[in-house]
């Protein structure tokens, strides 16, 4: 029986549970001996002119090796996109957390003491603390731009779009700013070798992209930089490539002539690592009273933060706007604005959760307006299985989907009819604790970059296998999944397979991890490499066994080569063939370039209880179908779904990265930022489905982000559903107790009038 599709405990775990992983701050590499420690001095003000910087007191502090400011940096400015982000701010700071100076000390404990002594004279300017302030244009962040809008796309809208509709509903749906908050904050260690090469140990999802960014920033060739991603304690999109800090640290190591170590603090992480989401989306949905939607419009405003780093987000949201529905007319437009807040970039889902949240709220609004069950409205408008491949009005080419099956699966598993009856009973009895049922159906895009991936498979002389993947995991369990794929293909037990990644000297060319691309692209690359190795081995075996290549077969159960139909005759081990291959080795190094984007989908049902006296929401159940095609390892597949469910629910219920009107973050520690805990989450109920794709060698789609995308609107819709008897049709996320109570309070007051 093939190991693929069976539950395999992870090969990664032994180290992580005994000595702990080796994260950047844990490294005791020889090259880092004698390293100085680094801390960035960051702006405490959202928007200000820097009138002067006095580093003299800091330079006199114990253990200080250097204090660098923009005046010391001799790096070329970064390319404008459309505005340039300084390495260190020199004239103006534009968000709380923007780096202004770098302090190097001999010991870690000296950093904060010295940093406090860097005296920066700020002349405050007006903050642009949100989308409204940005659009008003009263304060313009970049004088070289006309206003604060940095990108527009799509539109204009047709006045007649909704003219055939019996019912039209419109609503502004806020997708609030959240923090990725991986448990391991950002860190980097930099050491220049005597050969003039820089090695950077970087907590990153993409060592190779990081290498290219650092080399470009420093103005050196890529061959002069080696990036090593050691164990990485979570990324969630916010550790793609290298942040500007890594470039400054590499520069500082060169200038100071010492290796440099940097680990940020959590408060720094929550203000200076990119945030995610931060869209304000206006949906308009129209259709007939029989439940047919005729037209859908999505108008996106993306808060890009102070310096745009990911302007693909709003346009990706536009592309995924219609979701799982066959809407005849779809219109989208987007604008991105700059604000005096932390830059926005990818966060688990990156553009797709925002699209799903918008359309799934719109579907509920439409259902409420025509008085139809939200499940039924969805069924009526789903793209049908026979319509695939399906090209949407926004230009996405969906591969495969069984949307109604996913929805019906979770409704049946959850006992939807019984839950609705229980809800009715509570409403009739005037129960203080209201029950809410929320449905979301979603489709998303994985491997959407279509950028390919590298894979290399080498058969060692002892018959063991070493594989190198360009996908650089940080918790996903990819090393286990790839070992399973190889074991299945080569007949070598996974104990004899080592999967390596994350070192640009070992894997020079790669894209890495984002957009749930790893298995479909990195996995396909490993499969392709394995197949090339097999082809080579067949030639070698044919020669050794003196048979035609067509007569040679690999017994994948035993991992041996033999002449077909003569099982008792001589067999050849992988070790024997590796030996026969001689100095050229038995290996294959491939670039899998054929992978097209795939479209995982699913449906979630959330059950919440809302205390209508206090506004407190408790998530009781979440039932999820997440279909990403055939499953390599059910263990890690479920783990990805669990994590996504937790993170998605957290956005609906708790998490918000909040700023006051002056642009001060008010949630900059983990005591203030409502990172969800075990007590706020229920056990997850999973419904299994596996609809393959034809768009890669494995038939798989990505699972890393899927459950995050479905769960946020499911939980959000459940809260609104609980409040429906009070006449409440919409409520912004997160559904914090005060927000729910305020909505209830307003509704009750309106009723009294």
């Amino acid at each position: 029986m093939s190991i693929v599709g069976t539950r395999v405990v992870r090969v990664e775990d032994r180290k992580l549970i005994t000595t702990g992983g080796a994260y950047v701050d844990d490294l005791r590499e020889e090259a880092l001996s004698g390293a100085v420690h680094a801390v960035f001095v960051r702006s405490p003000i959202a928007h200000a002119r820097i009138e002067g910087i006095d580093v003299s007191a800091a330079l006199d502090a114990p253990g200080v090796v250097a204090v660098y400011t923009a005046a010391d940096l001799d790096l070329a400015p970064r390319a404008a996109n459309p505005v340039g982000e300084p390495w260190l701010a020199s004239d103006v700071v534009r968000y709380v957390g923007e780096p202004v100076a770098l302090v190097l000390t001999e010991q870690r404990y000296q950093l904060a003491d010295a940093a406090e002594l860097v005296d920066i004279d700020y002349d405050p300017l007006d903050a642009v603390a949100g989308i409204d302030a940005a659009l008003s244009g009263e304060t313009v962040l970049f004088p070289e731009l006309d206003g604060n809008v940095v990108q527009t796309h799509g539109g204009p809208f047709d006045e007649k779009t909704f003219e055939d509709c019996e019912v039209v509903v419109t609503e502004t749906v806020l997708n609030q700013r959240v923090a990725a908050a991986p448990l391991e904050v950002r860190g980097a260690s930099c050491a220049w070798g005597e050969d003039g090469r820089l090695t950077v140990w970087l907590s990153t999802q993409n060592a190779q992209i990081g290498r290219s960014q650092i080399a470009a920033g420093l103005g050196v060739g890529e061959e002069s930089v080696r990036v090593i991603a050691p164990d990485v304690g979570g990324g969630f999109g916010a550790k793609i490539g290298a942040d500007p800090e890594a470039v400054v640290l590499g520069w500082a190591a060169r200038r100071a002539g010492r290796p440099v170590r940097w680990t940020e603090s959590r408060s720094e992480n929550l203000t200076a690592m990119t945030h995610g989401r931060a869209q304000r989306n206006t949906v308009t949905i129209g259709g007939k009273r029989d439940g047919t939607v005729l037209a859908y419009r999505l108008d996106v405003v993306q808060d890009a933060g102070a310096y745009p780093r990911a302007l693909f987000l709003p346009t990706l949201t536009e592309m995924m706007a219609p979701g799982v529905y066959r809407f005849p007319k779809v219109e989208t437009a987007s604008r991105a604005v700059v604000t005096t807040t932390t830059p926005i970039a990818a966060y688990r889902g990156a553009g797709r959760p925002e699209a799903t949240a918008a359309v799934e709220r719109a579907m509920d609004l439409f259902a409420a307006e025509i008085g139809m069950d939200p499940a039924e409205v969805r069924r009526i408008n789903f793209i049908r299985p026979e319509e695939f491949p399906y090209t949407t009005a926004t230009g996405a080419s969906y591969d495969t989907g069984e949307y109604a099956k996913a929805l019906d699966g979770v409704l049946e598993a959850g006992g939807y009819a019984e839950l609705r009856a229980e809800q009715e009973r509570r409403r009739a009895e005037g129960d203080v604790v209201a029950l809410g049922l929320g449905i979301a159906a979603y489709v998303e895009i994985t491997g959407g970059d279509a950028g390919g991936e590298s894979g290399r498979v080498e058969i060692e002389r002892d018959g063991s296998v070493t594989a190198y993947t360009g996908s650089s995991p940080h918790g996903q369990g990819l090393a286990t999944s790839l070992a399973m794929l190889l074991s299945d293909r080569l007949g070598v037990p996974i104990e004899k397979i080592t999967v390596k990644h994350g070192d640009t000297d070992e894997v020079p060319k790669a894209v890495g991890t984002f957009g749930s691309r790893s298995l479909q692209l990195g996995g396909s690359a490993i499969r392709q490499a394995a197949d090339e190795v097999i082809a080579h081995a067949r030639e070698l075996a044919a020669e050794l066994l003196e048979a035609g290549a067509d007569d040679i077969e690999l017994d994948a159960e035993r991992g041996v080569w033999q002449v077909r139909g003569a099982p008792s005759s001589t067999v050849l081990s992988w070790a024997r063939l590796a030996e026969a291959a001689g100095d050229t080795g038995l290996s294959a190094d491939v670039w899998f370039a054929d992978g097209k984007p795939t479209f995982p989908f699913g449906a979630h049902l959330a059950v919440v209880e809302v205390d209508t006296e206090t506004g407190k929401v408790v998530l009781r159940r979440i039932i999820a179908a997440d279909d990403a095609g055939p499953v390599v390892n059910p263990l890690t597949f479920q783990g990805q779904r669990h994590g996504g469910l937790g993170q998605g629910a957290a956005q609906a219920l708790l998490e918000i990265m909040n700023y006051d009107d002056d642009g001060n973050p008010t949630t900059a520690t983990l005591a203030d930022y409502s990172f969800i805990t075990a007590t706020e989450l229920p056990d997850f109920e999973l419904v299994d489905m596996a609809t393959p794709t034809t768009r890669n060698l494995l038939g798989v789609k990505g699972i890393g982000e899927a459950a995050t995308i479905g769960s946020t609107p499911a939980v959000h819709n459940a809260v609104v559903d609980a409040l429906a008897p009070f006449g409440i049709r919409h409520l912004d996320m997160p559904a914090t107790p005060m927000r729910v109570w305020a909505a209830l309070d307003e509704a009750r007051k309106a009723e009294k009038k």
Binding site: T18, Y23, E184, G233, Q476, G643, E685
Partner: protein, 156 residues
């Protein structure tokens, strides 16, 4: 000041700054980097170790306060022969970890939880681990792991 702590059964004594936090003593002085730091506010629990057998957040204990006491970190949990502690084994079996960063603290908090409550319900596990944040797992499999480590059947 001179601080001496019995770390995983081994006496570690060094001159350190008075303000040295226990977590830095463990990581930098004792050289045990399994214990991680995830926040500044005693919120995340990544730095959880056992101090005289009780779980504590080692970022909020001075090394000086542990002077003369015994600390167990994740590195000291398996027996010297390499046999895993039941909690370690259960975390692996139940996929109670992904990126691994919260894991040492989560495991130590779980050991302490089971010490006080050997047969917890799932809700008691959730409440017992409220001081340990995990960004990867959604906690479901962490609960499974603690249930399994307690010798109870994992049914979901």
């Amino acid at each position: 000041m001179k601080v001496g702590i019995e770390v995983n059964g081994r006496e570690v004594a060094e001159e350190v700054e008075d303000r040295t936090l226990l977590v830095h003593f463990l990581r930098d002085t004792a050289g045990l980097t399994g214990t991680n730091i995830g926040c500044d506010t005693t919120s995340c629990g990544a730095c959880t170790v056992l101090l005289d057998g009780e779980s504590v957040k080692s970022c909020t204990v001075l090394a000086a306060q542990a002077d003369g006491h015994a600390v167990t970190t994740v590195e000291g949990l398996a027996d010297p022969g390499g046999e895993l502690h039941p909690v370690q084994r259960a975390f692996r079996e139940q996929h109670g970890l992904q990126c691994g960063f919260c894991t040492p603290g989560m495991i130590m908090a779980s050991v302490s939880l089971l010490e006080h409550n050997p047969k917890p319900t799932r809700d008691e596990v959730r409440t017992g681990l409220e001081g340990n944040l995990c960004r990867c797992t959604g906690y479901h499999n962490i609960v499974n792991a603690v249930i399994e480590a307690s010798g109870q059947e994992v049914d979901r």
